[in-house]
Every structure is written in structure tokens, then in C-alpha cells.
């Protein structure tokens, strides 16, 4: 019924081929624009047919992104994009599921789902627009805002510590964990592309200036240089450019996995004045579908969205007689 006839692949798709007709309602200067453009650019590079991309999101400024994409869009509930999209990824592994959403959405109200998604390693890409505030509800502190900070939208300084999404993601079992920055288009596109090419649950935490509410960490602030032992360095720096490599070469080698994971956590949790971007951790592990298929081989043969459940006349094709027999008194 719902077969996915592939449309003839576009000759050479361009970023604009993934733009919908919707005009964004973000504030001028919002970091979100750059992220959406980067995602569209990556789609073009990967050349995925539009209807085979499912753009998921929660609720927030950032979560309006799917409406800007000329792909299927699912703008779900605040904090629930992960369970919704997981359902789709499990039922139709033939599409590419990309989730975008805010830091409040993902690490705040959605924190439980965020953690448990790591335990499953579903094959999808999760892009979090991290602006340290709840944008759409007028700038309250989000879970990534540090203790004691007070952007102009707060009545009192933030009494909560911040979460560390990267460390949590590594501990939770995400198999690709990266950070990028909305205004570093090259790095951002490269990172999103790597995330999408990764087989398993990938997260990219994207630093996103919100000029309307976050007057602490602005585009200018990220663009500054910081002084370290006498010399000046750009605030935002690429760990991989400095030689860090978070990728596990041999996932079967327990020693390597152990060592690399601790290195990743050390890199992530080391507090410094600069802001590190890059891929902190990557490992190949069986995806949730791989695992489910082991105990349910039919899933491996036919994804559920393709399973035939009725004949042309609407007669159910599931034959329960063998099962009925177990309950029949005459058996």
C-alpha cells in the first residue's frame, strides 16, 4: 500500500531543493538560520530524495525547522521528538530520520527520552540547537545555562547548574557525539554530514546564538579570542584540528573502547575558557534494529511499514489458527 517508489534522483540537487515555501518566523540574526541552511546543504551533498527524509522536531523556535524543509515534516510535542521519531525509524528503516530541536526541548523536559535513546542506538541523527534559553517562551534559563548567569530575560540569576549534554550522551550510549557552532558553516556541514553517515544514534550539539534573549553568548562572544598562557586563540576551536581523534577503530577491542571513552569524557569534562567543537566520540555498535531483528527475524526481512496485512478484498492475511489451537479445548 505505502510503497516508496523512488522519485528519479535529481540530477545534482542543490540546497535550495530542500527549501520549502514557508518563510521562517525567526528573529533577524537568529543562529537558527545558519543551521537550517547547513542541513539543507548536507542533504544536497548526500543527494537524498526529498520524500525519503523525515524532519522531526519538538516544540520551540528551533523546532519550527521542519516546516522550512522540503521533506516530510513532523513537528511533535515539547520534549517528545525522540520517542516519536524512534517510532518512525523502527517502522520504516528505509527513510532518513533527522531530528532538530532546542536545548530546553531535548535536555530539559525531554531529558529522560534523551538518555534512553542512547540505550537503544536507533539509527538517526539528532541536532540540538543550543542557545541556553527557552527562546519561544521568552528567554527563561534552559538546562545548558550555567549557574549564576543572568541573560537579560531573567528576573534573577540562574540558580541551577547546567547539564553537560556531550558527557551525558557518551554515558547514555550515543555512538556519535559531536559539537559544532552555527556560524562555522564549514565545520557544521562537515559534522552534520558525518553524523548522518554514521550508522546509529548520532547527536550534534550546535551552539546557537539567540540575539533576542541571550546577550551573554552572542555571535560576537563566540567570535572573540581568548588569552591562554600569553597568546591569543580563537574562542571556538576544533579539537580534531588539534589532533584529537574520538573514533574507536576496533569496537571489539575492550581496552581501546575503555581508553577512548575515558579520553572522550576527559576532553568533554575538562573545563577551559575556550569552547571545543568536533567529534568527541564515535563507535560502531549494533543498532536497535539489528538487535530487534535477532529475536524477531521477520523484521529483518520486511520492515513493518511494508508488511502485508490484508489481501485485495480486505481479508486479514494473518493466520492465527496455530495460535488458536493452543487455547482450544479440543486440541
Amino acid at each position: 500500500m505505502a510503497s516508496n517508489t523512488a522519485t528519479p534522483t535529481m540530477a545534482k540537487p542543490m540546497a535550495k531543493d530542500y527549501k520549502s515555501d514557508v518563510v521562517s518566523d525567526w528573529c533577524a540574526g537568529c543562529g537558527d538560520f545558519g543551521i537550517v541552511a547547513a542541513v539543507q546543504g548536507v542533504y544536497a551533498e548526500l543527494g537524498i530524495p526529498n520524500h525519503q527524509i523525515i524532519s522531526y522536531s519538538g516544540v520551540g523556535c528551533s523546532s519550527k525547522s521542519p516546516h522550512l524543509m522540503h521533506t516530510y515534516g513532523v513537528h511533535t510535542l515539547h520534549g517528545r521528538s525522540i520517542p516519536f521519531s524512534t517510532g518512525t525509524a523502527l517502522a520504516n528503516p528505509d527513510v532518513k530520520v533527522v531530528v532538530t530541536g532546542g536545548d530546553g526541548d531535548g535536555y530539559g523536559i525531554g531529558a529522560g527520552h534523551f538518555l534512553h535513546a542512547g540505550r537503544r542506538n536507533v539509527n538517526m541523527t539528532y541536532l540540538v540547537y543550543n542557545n541556553e534559553v527557552y527562546g519561544l517562551t521568552k528567554g527563561q534559563a534552559s538546562p545548558t545555562l550555567a549557574y549564576g548567569e543572568q541573560p537579560k530575560s531573567l528576573a534573577v540569576p540562574n540558580p541551577n547548574d547546567k547539564v553537560d549534554p556531550l558527557a551525558l550522551a557518551v554515558n547514555a550510549g550515543y555512538t556519535f557525539v559531536a559539537r559544532s557552532y552555527a556560524y562555522n558553516r564549514t565545520h557544521l556541514m562537515a559534522t552534520i554530514k558525518r553524523a548522518m553517515e554514521h550508522r546509529g544514534m548520532a547527536i550534534v550539539d550546535i551552539l546557537q546564538p539567540c540575539p533576542t534573549y541571550n546577550n551573554l553568548h552572542t555571535k560576537e562572544w563566540y567570535g572573540e579570542e581568548v588569552e591562554m598562557s600569553g597568546a591569543n586563540y580563537p574562542r571556538v576551536y576544533d579539537i580534531e584540528a588539534e589532533g584529537y581523534n574520538g573514533m574507536v577503530q576496533n569496537p571489539a577491542d575492550a581496552e581501546e573502547v575503555n581508553r577512548k571513552e575515558i579520553a572522550a569524557l576527559t576532553k568533554i569534562r575538562t573545563h577551559e575558557d575556550r569552547v571545543a567543537i568536533g567529534v568527541f566520540w564515535q563507535i560502531e555498535k549494533p543498532t536497535f534494529m539489528d538487535r530487534l531483528t535477532m529475536t524477531n527475524p521477520k523484521l529483518g526481512d520486511t520492515p513493518t511499514y511494508k508488511m502485508v496485512i490484508a489481501d485485495a478484498d480486505g481479508n486479514p492475511t494473518t493466520d492465527l489458527s496455530a495460535t488458536y489451537a493452543e487455547f482450544l479445548t479440543t486440541s
Binding site: 517528545r80 517510532g87 523502527l90 527520552h113
Partner: protein, 625 residues
């Protein structure tokens, strides 16, 4: 000295003991033995919200004719430890009997009525001897007390041993088959011990009037409990995605489906909570996979937001709520029908919500099947209100009929249709007006991943393509469209799936009921009718959209209306008044957490129908432990 003429195939038996000591398996064995002998059975399970220590019991009613409830009198109480004997002794009728272990309780401590036979079975002694005979350690053999108890029981009713053996091999299959011989030995020991037993000079068996006679010509039955019936309905309907979070009594259904994954390919996913469960099912449903989630009361409330979103995005998804005692955690392993109004009005802001309430085991199967059709036809979440009573009880039923069960996926767009539309409007570049208005409120639906079916979902108000719009006129159109589906549904769904009327159509008195409460009322009906209490029973099966016309037609003919359900505020009566304006004159109610028996139903109906209209507004029942 046989004191009475035998009472054949009318038998009520209780077995009790601490949870985890084999009460359930004894009851299952007895029930299955009787069922394979062509008898009709109903097994009521009562257990605490604990794992091993609470007192649990099962009351099995066996009958020569089909039944769907228990009765209050217990004819035979079988125990093998002290607590059950203490708790249940007073429930046994005069002329009945108690099997007890004299090693743990003395006959004098059995607090029972006069004229109850007290039958001492020295379990330890018998099993020690058996162990010796088998050459096995006593400890290993002694765990079969519960099996021995079944043998003793069946001797009392003169049961034919052949059926027990057949039942036992039905229960222990495959790797477990090797357990059959040992168990048969224990059963035989119990059977023979009772057969040989004399009391006051005559055989105890002769002194016990209740007997079971095989009815080999009875049509085949299924032995079924509600969670399994629902699971089978899902499999038949082609449900391929089931999400859940463990909760009593709902998770039995999911655990059963887990065991069927290999066979039927259904994907069963245990989620991190009930919010994730409903969202994940909806996410799967958006791909065209028939999807469902099952839960119980506290978990159901957590699904409100997801259900609202599904209604807003017109996603077919099926949600079962197994009602148990509320509010809050309430009585997690006990029965109540307390969720009707919170289900019908779940989630804010007038989403279209369909609510179905099956009232017997066969309807558990059928309505589950129908629910997937409704969900697809009306593109909206369908809530199925089940309950602990049918969900956990085990009974013989007519095998499920698959007659006329057709799968209807509603307005699901084929690839050809989408391609044709796309070729007419290439400027749309594969976008599809999924939420376009339509006369019946239902639009054509593409699924995620389909070429030329691109659209957007959102919890916000949307335009035809699914993009957010706050335009007031569009808003009005879409609110009307979504709720119009409810009118379409009530017009299209066959009346027999909306409600059912049992008994004489021309009766002046109508009893209004729903769900598992139907069972005891219908069981009580023949006797009451023949005693001159003329009434009919209106069972509402579709709660939302409500069958206003049909129910009004029937209630308008009733001079006296009795609401009969199991929740403090009579929620079906409340809903019926809201929808039709008809009020109930009397109520029969029970909210102790225990289901209603045929005995109670009969006496309450008698009481209400005998009294003058003013004298008794409500009968509140409370029998049962």
C-alpha cells in the same frame, strides 16, 4: 449417607494461598480439565499488589451452560495452608466442603457454617510417601501440594481422570512435557485419598452433592483471558508495532505479544515510560504501520498529550486502558470501571477522541480488531477501555469468529493516486494537501516516506499541507473538519458495534451497563425473567462518539431506568445524561475493587425492582474478599 440428590454441573470452587505457591496453576489445571470435559468455566482471580507474599485466590465456577461471571456461594474450598482456610471458610455454603491440611490448622479453627464437610488431607504424609515411592527427595515432591489438591478436588466431584491427564498435557508442552508424569502421580494420590475416605461411616464423596459430568458433545471452547484476547485481536488486525511500559494488569498483553514476535513479526518495544510509548506508537503509525500501545490507569493519564497530538494530526493509533481500582495508584490489582469520563474527555481543547468499551471476551477480540479500522477510517486515536476483571480472569468462550472481519485502511493514498495528483500539479514538487477539508471530515492520507505525498505534521493549527497557520477562518474550517469525523463515524459504524440490547425489547425496565458488568447481569437474567422481573439490558459499546440516537430510542421506551456499573459516580449514567438527557432512576454500584457476581446482580435487581420507585435510589454491593 448421601444427604442430597446430586447437583450436577453447577459448581463453585475456591482455591487460595500465598502468591507464588501455585494457586494460579491449580486453578488453571482445574479449569482446563473441566473445559476439555466440555464444561463451561469462569475463573475469577484475586491477588495483592505484591509478588509472593499477599494472599491470592481463584474462584472457579463450572457449569453445564455458558457463563460469564462468578457466584458468591462456594461449594468447595480447597486449601493447603492456613491463611486461605482462615479467610475463606465462612464463604462455603451449607452442604459444601472444605479441604484443609490438619497439619497446619485444626478442624475447630475452621470458622464455617454448620453442615459444611471438613475434609482433612494430610498433605505432608501423602507426599512423603509418594516421595519414597518415587525414590525422590521429599522437598522436591512436596512442592506439588497444589497439584495434589486438584486431585482431591476432582475426586470430590466424581470427575473423570482422563480429562485431567489431557488438560495437564495441554498445559505442559515441549520442554515442560517431562513434568506431566510426576504431576499426574500427585493428582492421583489426592484423587485416591479422597475416593477412599470415609467419614461418619460413609464415603465423603457420597456426602458431597456437587458433581461434574463430562459433556463430550459440547462445542469446542477456547480458554481465554482478556489480555490474550486483545493481543490476538491486534495480531489479526495486522498491528505490527506495540509499545508499552510495564504496568499491572496491562503488561500481560505486551508480554504475550513479545512471545509471539517470531511468529507474527509484530515489533514489541518496551519504552522508558508511557509518554514515550504513545509517542513511539504514533511515530510508527505515521509510516502506515498499524500501531498500538497498552497501559493501565496512571499510565493512561500520561498519554493525554500524545493522544491529543495524534487527534490533531489525524493519526490512526490504538490505545488500550485496562481499568483497575483508582484514583492514583489505587488498588493496582483489583477491578473497577473508573476511567470512562477521563478517557472520553482526555486531553484539552476538544480533540476528536474515539472510545470503545467491549463487554465480553469475544468483544475484547473483535473490538480490538475494529479499533484499528476505526482508527484508519476516521484517522484518529481510538481508546479501548478494558478492565482487570475480563483482562485477568480466565474463562471458556465460544471460539473467536473471524466471520466478516475485514481490514479497512480508510483513505490511505496509493502510490498511483499520489503520482497522478503530482503529475497534475508539478508545481507542488511532490507536496500533498494531507489536511484538506472534506465532506466527511476525513482527508486522503499519505504516509511518511511515500513519494509525492510530502506534508507536515504539527501540534499547532495547520493549513492543508500541515504548515502552521493562525488564520482564524482556516481554524474554523479545521476545527469543524476534525470534529465532523465523529458524526461520520456514528453514521457509518454498524449499530451492533455501538450498543446492544439483551432481553425482552418490550420490557418497561431497562438496565444500562457497560464493560465486564454485563456478564453477571446476563447470567442472572434468565432466572429473574422467569421469576417475573421483566427487564432488558442496554450495553453501550461505543462511548465516543456516543450513540445518541440508538440509546435514546431505547431509553425513551423505558419507564424505569437502572444504571448498573462499577464506579462511585456512575460515569456511564453521567455520560448518557450529558449526551441524551435521559437520567437513571436507580443505580446499582460496587466499588470495593472486587467484581460483581451473578448472585449479587440478581439480588440487587430483585431489590430495586421489588421496591417502589421512591424507596431505594441506589444499591451498593460489597460482597467478596
Amino acid at each position: 449417607m448421601p444427604t442430597e440428590t446430586p447437583i450436577v454441573n453447577h459448581f463453585s470452587w475456591t482455591i487460595g494461598g500465598p502468591q507464588g505457591t501455585g494457586v494460579d496453576s491449580s486453578a488453571n489445571l482445574l479449569l482446563r480439565s473441566c473445559a476439555v470435559a466440555g464444561l463451561y468455566c469462569y475463573g475469577k482471580r484475586e491477588y495483592h499488589s505484591t509478588i509472593k507474599t499477599g494472599h491470592s485466590y481463584t474462584q472457579v465456577r463450572v457449569s453445564g451452560i455458558p457463563i460469564s461471571s462468578h457466584v458468591d456461594p462456594v461449594h468447595l474450598l480447597t486449601t493447603y495452608e492456613k491463611t486461605a482456610a482462615k479467610i475463606h471458610a465462612d464463604e462455603v455454603v451449607t452442604g459444601g466442603a472444605i479441604i484443609y491440611d490438619p497439619g497446619v490448622i485444626s478442624a475447630d479453627d475452621l470458622n464455617c457454617q454448620d453442615g459444611v464437610l471438613k475434609i482433612a488431607v494430610p498433605y505432608d504424609e501423602i507426599l512423603d510417601k509418594l516421595a519414597e515411592e518415587m525414590g525422590q527427595p521429599a522437598a522436591k515432591v512436596k512442592i506439588m501440594k497444589n497439584t495434589l489438591a486438584v486431585g482431591a478436588t476432582l475426586a470430590m466431584v466424581n470427575f473423570d481422570m482422563a480429562y485431567i491427564e489431557k488438560a495437564l498435557s495441554g498445559l505442559f508442552k515441549g520442554r515442560k512435557a517431562k513434568l506431566v508424569p510426576d504431576n499426574m502421580l500427585a493428582i492421583r494420590k489426592g484423587f485416591e485419598y479422597i475416593q477412599a475416605m470415609q467419614m461418619n461411616g460413609s464415603s465423603v464423596v457420597d456426602q458431597f452433592p456437587y458433581k461434574l459430568e463430562a459433556q463430550p458433545d459440547s462445542p469446542a471452547q477456547m480458554i481465554m483471558s482478556g489480555t490474550t484476547a486483545v493481543a490476538l485481536g491486534k495480531l489479526k488486525a495486522g498491528c505490527k508495532m506495540q509499545t508499552y511500559y510495564p504496568i499491572t494488569p496491562a503488561s500481560d498483553e505486551s508480554v504475550y505479544l513479545e512471545s509471539q514476535q517470531k511468529e507474527y513479526g509484530i515489533n514489541v518495544v518496551q519504552c522508558e515510560d508511557e509518554i514515550a510509548s504513545v509517542c513511539m506508537a504514533v511515530g510508527a503509525a505515521l509510516t502506515g504501520t498499524r500501531s498500538a500501545t497498552s497501559t493501565s490507569c496512571p499510565g493512561f493519564g500520561l498519554k493525554a498529550e500524545g493522544i491529543g497530538w495524534a487527534a490533531m494530526n489525524e493519526v490512526p493509533v490504538v490505545i488500550h486502558d485496562y481499568q483497575r481500582g483508582g484514583p492514583s495508584t489505587g488498588l493496582p490489582t483489583r477491578h473497577e470501571q473508573g476511567d470512562l469520563l477521563s478517557a472520553v474527555f482526555i486531553s484539552h481543547g476538544n480533540p476528536p477522541r474515539m472510545v470503545v468499551a467491549p463487554s465480553d471476551m469475544n468483544e475484547y477480540f473483535e473490538d480490538t480488531f475494529h479499533a484499528f479500522n476505526y482508527a484508519d477510517q476516521y484517522q484518529t486515536p481510538v481508546i479501548v477501555l478494558t478492565d482487570k476483571c475480563i483482562g485477568n480472569n480466565t474463562m471458556t468462550i465460544t471460539p473467536f469468529s473471524e466471520e466478516g472481519l475485514k481490514i479497512n485502511r480508510g483513505k490511505l493514498a496509493t502510490q498511483d493516486e499520489l503520482d497522478r495528483l503530482a503529475s497534475l500539479k508539478p508545481e507542488l514538487k511532490g507536496q500533498f494537501p494531507r489536511f484538506g477539508d472534506s465532506d466527511d471530515g476525513v482527508s486522503m492520507r499519505s504516509v511518511l516516506g511515500q513519494a509525492n505525498g510530502i506534508y507536515w505534521n504539527t501540534g499547532d493549527e495547520r493549513d492543508a499541507y500541515g504548515h502552521i497557520t493562525e488564520d482564524p477562518d482556516n481554524r474554523q474550517v479545521l476545527m469543524n473538519k476534525r470534529l465532523r469525523k465523529m458524526a461520520t463515524a456514528i453514521a457509518e459504524i454498524p449499530e451492533s458495534q455501538q450498543f446492544q440490547l439483551y432481553g425482552p425489547k418490550d420490557a418497561d425496565t431497562t438496565i444500562l451497563t457497560w464493560g465486564s458488568t454485563k456478564g453477571p447481569i446476563l447470567d442472572a437474567m434468565p432466572q429473574l425473567l422467569s421469576d417475573g422481573f421483566k427487564f432488558n439490558v442496554l450495553v453501550v459499546r461505543l462511548m465516543s462518539p456516543y450513540p445518541v440516537e440508538g440509546v435514546s430510542r431505547i431509553l425513551s421506551k423505558a419507564k424505569t431506568k437502572i444504571g448498573f456499573e462499577m464506579n462511585h459516580t456512575h460515569q456511564l449514567a453521567q455520560l448518557t445524561r450529558m449526551e441524551t438527557g435521559f437520567s437513571m432512576d436507580h443505580f446499582i454500584n460496587k466499588f470495593t475493587g472486587r467484581p460483581i457476581s451473578e448472585t449479587e446482580a440478581a439480588s440487587a435487581i430483585r431489590e430495586i425492582m421489588s421496591s417502589t420507585t421512591t424507596s431505594k435510589k441506589e444499591v451498593v454491593l460489597s460482597y467478596g474478599k
